[in-house]
Subunit: 277 residues, 4 copies
């Protein structure tokens, strides 16, 4: 299907030519300022999460990310702290005041996750889990819907349409790398998706350069490129000791690297006529 022939009456740009601002915990996605969400891939323990939350807040992040339920390719990998992870996220939110984005994988746990989250993340592997899309569509909490690994942009907007059709118009899109033949990175970050999505939908569009590359030292450059391409925000993985991370350590920035990256992001945001939120 051609994206120009897309029939998405709710998600399509024509439905709200001026663009949608999604608000969560006092932060605005889709407004003039660029929003940075940061934190560890997975919640591992109180010290790991709290220290990361304080560090990313100090460096200018406005949203805390962290996974309590982790979709893992192998059933033998760390699956997340689950309920205990949610409690730690609530604790970090209480201490830092940062709103929390965390992934929900199971429609039956929605109430449980919503109690600790300001934004519900639907991961790449669930982009076309229509049962889950329908259920988050019935919630009144913003949804961060990540692009599927091989989803076309037309399919991606129709996944957002599934959510919106059930009543929830607070959807944030997130480019996070697609699957290609290139083996030197985990995924190929498709930054052309940013202007293409912005043209065809009114929803905010952010970028995850951490999953998009899988390579920590590439994250600063690709974060800057994402903002230059027009992204409304970034989702960045940060860990106190990346080499000890229980998942995806190879793509996490240290606290110092993240602080340095924030300075570079701010400069580029300013160059394209925006600031940091």
């Amino acid at each position: 299907m051609s994206i120009d022939a897309l029939v998405a009456p709710l998600a399509g740009r024509q439905a709200r030519p001026a663009g949608t601002v999604v608000r969560a915990g006092g932060v605005e996605f889709g407004g003039p300022a660029v929003v940075v969400a940061a934190g560890p891939c997975a919640v591992e323990d109180e010290d790991q999460l709290l220290s990361a939350a304080r560090a990313v807040k100090a460096a200018g992040a406005r949203v805390l990310r962290g996974g309590a339920y982790k979709p893992r390719t192998s059933p033998y990998s760390f699956q997340g702290l689950k309920t205990d992870g949610l409690k730690l996220l609530a604790l970090a939110r209480a201490e830092t005041g940062l709103p929390v984005v965390t992934e929900v994988m199971d429609a039956r746990l929605l109430d449980h996750v919503m109690a600790c989250a300001d934004i519900l993340q639907v991961g790449s592997r669930n982009m076309q889990n229509f049962t889950l899309l329908e259920e988050v569509g019935r919630c009144r909490v913003p949804v961060l819907l990540k692009r599927g690994m091989s989803a076309t942009l037309a399919e991606y907007l129709l996944a957002a349409e599934h959510v919106m059709k059930h009543g929830n118009g607070q959807v944030i899109l997130c480019e996070r790398g697609i699957r290609t033949f290139e083996p030197s990175t985990r995924n190929t970050l498709d930054l052309g998706a940013v202007p293409m999505l912005k043209r065809h939908t009114h929803l905010p569009v952010i970028v995850d350069p951490s999953h998009g590359t899988g390579v920590a030292w590439m994250v600063p450059a690709m974060a800057c490129a994402a903002v230059a391409a027009g992204a409304d925000g970034l989702l960045i993985e940060v860990h106190g000791q990346p080499s000890r991370a229980l998942s995806d350590g190879g793509q996490a920035l240290t606290f110092d690297e993240f602080a340095g990256t924030m300075g570079r992001i701010a400069a580029v945001a300013s160059a394209v006529g925006r600031g940091l939120a």
Copy 2:
């Protein structure tokens, strides 16, 4: 991850060097004979389903396929007859004696679907819906797990491992086309997956040439090629009037075309030392 470095103690070939036979309603997947499952993409009404069930049985199919719950890219496309569709499948099973394979999209509906199905299908879009994999893993019904559109074979075997780890070892794999740059077909059927999977797992491997191409006139040739490559079975879409189908009509065979295709499949199965079940 390299498939040779795969850690899949349950799904890996070494767990059962002689291979696993999955039995459903008197039919054996993974035995010496090639099994053909056929029927419409979606259950549309009693006449459509029953006529198709009779036609595919008469032509030699041993399993009836048909979707009651349909995952659709757009929320405005036909979503399936749902409960009514399940009832019609039960009716077709009762009349023809063919075991039924149908898709389950929602863990909460498992009991409901199992009442009418002999094999639970997990679709491509849900190959890494780990919640659903866990739940079908707790069932004692065979699972037909389709390969994700951009899943590597290592990821695919680990998805099967998720199911098996929860206790259900009756998993059938199904290559159904992958996403590539080629636009002339809906997907690119990856028949090399058949010998590669057979070497690395003991589970039965079947092929869906209907979704794998999206082009009805290609189905007979690709069905024969799949059997020549070593497939243990086929999943083929058949419709009384493809041009009137509510979903995927472009890839469905008519009753006559299916009967002709069965003859060609039988000849190739014989040439590679197997027969039709």
Copy 3:
């Protein structure tokens, strides 16, 4: 570009609805029988080539393949014996009577290569080397044009059109695997290309399962699948001692494996109403 909208007045099926038979050294590509071309990836020395030529002839191959000029990703890999390789091919042809197919990479060497070759191979990396296509288009020798690694089928047929427009209608097409995200094989063999090409062009279509997989033990299964899909021929790499091959040893069959494979190919060819040439 859609293959259905293709403008290829010379290569398009409508130009010769009955199909084209390309003749080389008494062998017919595109006729009722399936033609097998076999031999080493690269010509290495007299004993290696001659022993392979005798072995493949004895097993039923009708054409000898072997590279004298080798396109190699790294400039530090073996580049072929060049002129000495051509002389050895001429010797092998004289002894066995098998026509020879070998690659030409440089338009300036065409006369030189044609003196020893019955079929000129244009490799995947040169599928859109329009200078070379134009020059082989001026020759009166059959051309084996391999599909580019990421060429769409429409682009592929237009590459053939480049050759034909310059006067040479004796073009054989060859599917040899495309580039995808799957890492367990060197390429992904796209057997759907066979029926799709046969429908849109009158030219013969053969398949190279050796490059298409890069994995010797997969070659027999994929060779059979190619014939079942409708291929007019096969191109198979054979080497007396694959582990000592100077290029692509991992995908070469031994003499015994090739002989066994020929038996399996013959059975499938018969099942689809064809024989071996």
Copy 4:
């Protein structure tokens, strides 16, 4: 092959840790400043080329691009003005003082093209035309080597190694979009290639957002993103009347659009600590 295991003694970063500056007509690629090369896809006539050359120079471009020999998918498309196109490029160079980059497709025409060009472009389709790489490797003129449509970065660096091994170390690399499943753009611009290449080679790396997207309105955003990602330069298509262009009009900027884009590029270059050349 893993890029980390790459054996490229000449192109690898370790050969010149400080990086290589390639000089052409007074312009430096790979130095502190970002270089913009711009002009029409194809040279069409004197007025078209001269007006474009003046316009891009006035807006700040430092190199003129324009094709005299055009590689075209179809043999029935405009193939370029050839010798007449080269003469017009020489004329435009004489009038504006801008050095010229133009494509060479045929090793036999190298002297002819070098007489009018300051930089020899080897196009994507010829990235592994090893005959041509060898011949431009024997020249003493800078070479702009574009990435192949489905070339891995390791293969790309080895293509540069082919050129350098024959004596020409003046190679500029250019990311120009890769082939993926996404249909809404002509190619998928892989900006992650910029930092990855910069880490593994000392050669300058530029980006072509015009071919990389195929969509004119996306070019400004992607040009800015490329500079933010660390590109040493840009290659941008500009045409006085894009709708009348004989090739690739859909991706060309008008003179005004190009001037506006230059301002945006300059701001981002400054934000990342560089200026425009």
